[in-house]
């Protein structure tokens, strides 16, 4: 079977990656000088939690384990990203090599 799959040029991929970076750097520039102390860059999940507490609801269960500090939390988040990145990198590298052999 003949595949008519169209693949993007490297330059297109790079432009897309650049758009992504601009998209996520823009808020940092827009609100530069602001921080957690004046209510910027907090998490939406926490904001929702606060909105729920304002309605008078008492959380009835708390996490069985919590990262004991922000350092440990960032460690575990980095670990989560690393697990994902290793898996994707492994398979993409393997497939790329496979394609070259053929």
């Amino acid at each position: 079977m003949k595949h008519k799959v169209i693949i993007m040029k490297t330059s297109t991929l790079l432009i897309l990656a650049a758009v992504c970076i601009i998209l996520f750097v823009a808020p940092l520039i827009m609100f530069s000088g602001h921080g957690e102390d004046d209510g910027y860059f907090g998490g939406a999940d926490d904001a929702a939690g606060e909105a729920i507490e304002e309605s008078g609801f008492e959380p009835w269960f708390s996490s069985i384990w919590e990262p004991p500090s922000g350092e440990i939390e960032s460690l575990l988040f980095a670990l989560q990203a690393a697990i994902g990145a290793i898996i994707i990198g492994y398979f993409f590298g393997y497939w790329r090599g496979q394609g070259k052999e053929e």
Partner: protein, 221 residues
């Protein structure tokens, strides 16, 4: 979109748990079937899960001045459908509930429902609809991932408005939509673009496998 541990009334925890359990069970059955029929797709399952692992760990700033994270659920949905993606989302959400105190065990069902079921279902419908209309799969995957991400957060807003309809349901819904959905718009665009990049590479490396899974547009196969 993580509803925090203990932040949903018990009745709602049970309702979402039952719905999500049924879909996840069906997803596990589907994974068995897919792996039996196409053993090569195991690697694609791993990549789809890994993509969710990465994207949901990235707390990104948004133009609203608060931070949120993408979901990565559009890729799995386009490849394997929503039920299989629900299984992958369960793994991610369990990791975050147990190790990061993000989300929780009591709210696991509710969080699977938004990130593992509603988002992927929307992404899947959008993807299949657009590719059937002979739109190139790379374009279709952008809209699938964008809407899958956005609707995940809309679903969370609805879940919270159902559970806390104070003062009225619609006012509560607007309040939660402002917190979640508005912040999410630029992130969803970013997720769309990242999914396009991954999709392009998958098409370059594994076109036959994508075709076998029925994940390409008819004119690409």
């Amino acid at each position: 979109m993580h509803i925090m541990e203990g932040y949903l009334p018990l009745t709602w925890c049970i309702i979402w748990f039952i719905i999500s359990f049924a879909v996840v069970a069906f997803g596990i059955y589907q994974i068995k079937k897919i792996v039996d029929e196409t053993p090569e797709s195991k690697a694609l399952l791993a990549v789809s899960g890994a993509f969710m692992f990465i994207l949901s760990s990235l707390k990104l700033p948004s133009v609203t001045g608060s931070c949120s994270h993408p979901c990565g659920n559009g890729l799995g949905a386009a490849l394997f459908g929503p039920a299989v993606t629900a299984v992958l989302a369960t793994i991610v959400l369990l990791f975050q509930a147990l190790l990061l105190a993000h989300g929780g065990l009591t709210t696991l069902g509710a969080n699977i429902f938004s990130m593992g079921i509603v988002g992927p279902f929307v992404a899947w419908i959008v993807y299949k609809g657009l590719t059937k209309a002979n739109i190139a799969s790379t374009i279709a995957i952008f809209f699938a991932a964008f809407l899958g991400d956005l609707l995940t957060y809309v679903a969370t807003s609805f879940q919270l408005a159902f559970a806390f309809p104070a003062p009225t349901f619609s006012e509560a819904l607007v309040k939660f939509l402002v917190i979640f959905a508005v912040t999410q718009v630029p992130l969803a665009i970013g997720e769309g673009i990242l999914t396009v990049i991954i999709w392009d590479r998958l098409k370059a490396y594994k076109p036959k496998l994508l075709d076998k899974l029925g994940a390409l547009a008819p004119n690409e196969a």
